[in-house]
């Protein structure tokens, strides 16, 4: 055996600047798979309703919103029946908020692993991003049922749905990388995530249409509003599936720009701090 032939790695203070080590990620793909499988298997263990919770949560939100904002406050819903108007938004929102908060608490929750064994740290916040897709899929079936009940058929734009989902995943992962790496050093994040999530929800056009912003504040503010990626995602879901409005490409475009910024800056911050995770965990 010669040391020149054996693959080796170096442990040094300064590492080569590389945002993602794809070769390594491929090597650890099985671990990601089992992490996701663990999350999914464990999630509804020892519950009576089991997977029904994946439906019950968004449905209950939809019911509450329909009663309060649709029924009492009479918020305009672009002519769409309010329940399906809000459910089309609650669906991506639930995924977004759950995967984001899951990713945020993931590093702290897995601290015992960080101090005991090496693997690419990014797999930890990546896990809820994938595992929450299962709840999303289950909840999606309810939307299909509602569309059938309201006799609404999707438009051709439905083929852009994967693009919207990528946008949503990129944003959730970007914020997740930011917050999880901050949370392991500053545990304040854990306390802030609660109100931050509800703030972000009311900022997104979940209970009201984005057109309301254009109406009240004008076109420029409406465009800037699009910088919040979930605006384009939610309005895109409504347009492509329910077809009452044209696809809001301007919102989606704005959202893509900031989603990419959030994602890469998050990855950068994660990369910069990951070497100290074991020390501060």
């Amino acid at each position: 055996m010669s040391s020149n032939i054996i693959p080796h790695f170096d442990i040094t203070v300064k590492k080569k600047w590389k945002l993602f080590d794809f070769k390594e990620l491929v090597k650890y793909k099985d671990l990601l798979y089992f992490f996701v499988l663990r999350d999914i298997t464990v999630l509804y263990k020892q519950t009576v309703l089991g997977m029904l919770w994946a439906i019950l949560n968004p449905v209950m939100s939809m019911v509450i919103f329909s009663v309060i904002f649709g029924g009492l406050a009479k918020i305009d819903s672009d002519g769409i029946p309010y329940p399906i108007f809000s459910y089309a938004a609650v669906l991506p929102w639930t995924y977004f908020s759950q995967s984001m908060s899951g990713a945020t608490s993931s590093l702290v929750g897995n601290a015992h692993l960080l101090t005991k064994v090496y693997f690419p740290r990014i797999l930890i916040p990546l896990t809820p991003i994938f595992s929450k897709l299962m709840d999303f899929t289950i909840a999606f079936s309810i939307l299909l049922v509602m569309m059938f009940v309201y006799n609404i058929s999707p438009t051709w734009n439905v083929m852009f749905l994967p693009l919207l989902m990528i946008l949503m995943i990129l944003t959730a992962l970007g914020i997740g990388m930011w917050l999880s790496s901050l949370a392991i050093q500053y545990r304040d994040v854990r306390f802030a995530i609660g109100f931050m999530t509800s703030m972000l929800m009311y900022a997104a056009p979940v209970v009201f249409p984005a057109s309301l912003v254009a109406e009240k504040f004008g076109e420029t503010v409406y465009l800037l509003y699009g910088l919040y990626p979930m605006v384009g995602v939610i309005e895109g879901f409504r347009s492509s599936l329910l077809g009452f409005n044209p696809m809001p490409w301007n919102l989606i475009g704005m959202g893509s720009v900031s989603a990419i910024i959030i994602f890469f800056s998050g990855a950068l911050h994660f990369k910069k701090t990951e070497k100290i995770f074991a020390d501060v965990a």
Binding site: S3, P7, D10, I11, V13, R38, V117, Y118
Partner: protein, 430 residues
């Protein structure tokens, strides 16, 4: 030098330690510091990841300092040292769990760490699911685990419960399964930290045997343990860390015995002159010593005979009967026995020196760390006239001659040689 497995160059690691908070004696002081505390907390937390000027600052603690060494492929290296010597930190750096503050290392080949048994175990999952989860966490691929699955289950001995949730397992079952997973890893380099201190006797024997077999297969192993007997049995070479520095390196039995003797000598003899001797109104303790035949071994082993020697100076003019009574405790705080000269025929002693010798017979003591916890001098069989705590402390090593029970682990407070006889035939049934 073509056979190097790991080489490190001046690895150092600093940790930030908390300095004492200032105390407040006024309410105003407490309130103002409470208001200022977010800023202070922020500064402390922010510094968790920077080591600027770590050399000069007093609130950094150097867990490792300039550690350089090399291991060749196929070597089994023991790492010894007191608690806090930096052993675990060194392993964590080599496994890439944490980064060094300065210095570098190069590792040739795949490295797997076994810093804890059961890393990543989830009690909600079944045994089978845990095998895959835990295995991939330790760096295996699904394919590798598939191939090894039957072997893992057999080694763990829990075939029947493999599809049961792990939370219904006993502690022992969990440990066995976890170790079986870890043992199935096939990397060129294995890093093992204190995993032998858990589980029952049978499990311990199995795991030591497993590590021995890894070594025989030519795997490179780094092994940290407080169990010096196990280190001696398994390793070929050893390094000793002390306060983060590498202070000794070499052949395992040499390093271990130097480590032991430097550790033991401090406590096996206490010798005083008349001025400094611990004393009471009635007597002074001049010397307390543990003696054994060190012609063959430089430290005590289980089953070796030895003796205690106590030299006193009596300050009492009149003659009295004087006796020594002491408590011998082991590392688990068990009282192994009470040594007492009260059982003997009495001798009267007047002012001046006198010496008690107490022989502990062969084939009696087990391995362990012992101390003469309480120590008394008694006058006329009733009055305590001198009292001292922790007079001597010493280590008895595991004996390789007595391969009874299991390897390396202490079973039973004492290890006496019992008198056995065997009857057979007609006589046996009487």
């Amino acid at each position: 030098m073509s056979n190097i497995a790991i080489t490190t160059d001046k690895i150092s690691k600093a940790y930030l330690i908390g300095l004492k908070d200032e105390a407040h004696d006024t309410l105003a002081g407490a309130v103002s510091s409470w208001l200022k505390s977010p800023l202070k907390n922020y500064r402390t937390l922010k510094r968790l990841n920077t080591y600027k000027n770590a050399e000069e600052r007093e609130d950094y603690f150097w867990a490792l300092k300039d550690v350089s060494f090399q291991i060749n492929h196929g070597e089994v290296l023991g790492i010894i040292g007191h608690n806090g010597a930096g052993k675990s930190t060194l392993l964590k750096i080599l496994c890439r769990i944490t980064e060094p503050t300065s210095g570098s290392a190069r590792v040739y080949g795949r490295i797997a760490s076994l810093l804890e048994v059961g890393t990543g175990f989830n009690v909600e999952l079944t045994g089978r699911e845990n095998v895959y989860l835990s295995g991939t966490i330790l760096g295996m691929t699904k394919k590798e685990i598939d191939k090894k699955f039957d072997e893992i289950i057999e080694f763990s001995g829990i075939e029947k419960f493999i599809d049961t949730q792990a939370k219904k397992y006993s502690n022992g079952m969990r440990i066995r399964l976890a170790f079986a997973i870890a043992a199935s890893i096939e990397t060129e380099i294995m890093v093992i930290d204190e995993v032998l201190n858990i589980g029952d006797a049978d499990f311990q024997r199995k795991s030591i045997a497993k590590i021995e077999s890894l070594a025989k297969q030519g795997r490179t192993v780094l092994f940290v343990s407080h169990n010096l007997s196990a280190i001696k049995a398994i390793c070929t070479r050893a390094i000793q860390l002390n306060h983060g520095k590498l202070i000794r390196e070499g052949e395992v039995s040499k390093v271990v015995s130097v480590y032991l003797s430097s550790y033991v000598k401090e406590h096996t003899v206490h010798k005083y002159d008349m001025e400094t001797a611990p004393s009471s109104e009635y007597a002074k303790l001049i010397k307390a010593e543990l003696k054994f035949d060190d012609s063959k071994n430089d430290h005590l082993k289980a089953g070796d005979p030895f003796e205690f020697e106590f030299v006193f100076y009596s300050l009492m003019k009149e003659e009295h009967i004087l006796d020594v009574v002491f408590q011998l405790k082991d590392e688990l705080d068990n009282i192994v026995f009470i040594g007492s000269s009260l059982d003997n025929n009495y001798v009267k002693v007047s002012e001046g020196y006198f010496k008690w010798i107490c022989k502990v017979p062969a084939d009696f003591m087990n391995q362990g760390s012992y101390s003469l916890h309480k120590f008394y001098l008694i006058k006329n069989k009733t009055d305590v006239i001198f009292e001292q705590r922790e007079v001597l402390s010493f280590e008895i090593m595991y004996s390789f001659d007595l391969r009874i029970g299991n390897v390396g682990r202490k079973e039973g407070i004492v290890k006496p040689k019992l008198d056995w006889s065997l009857l057979s035939g007609e006589n046996a049934n009487k």
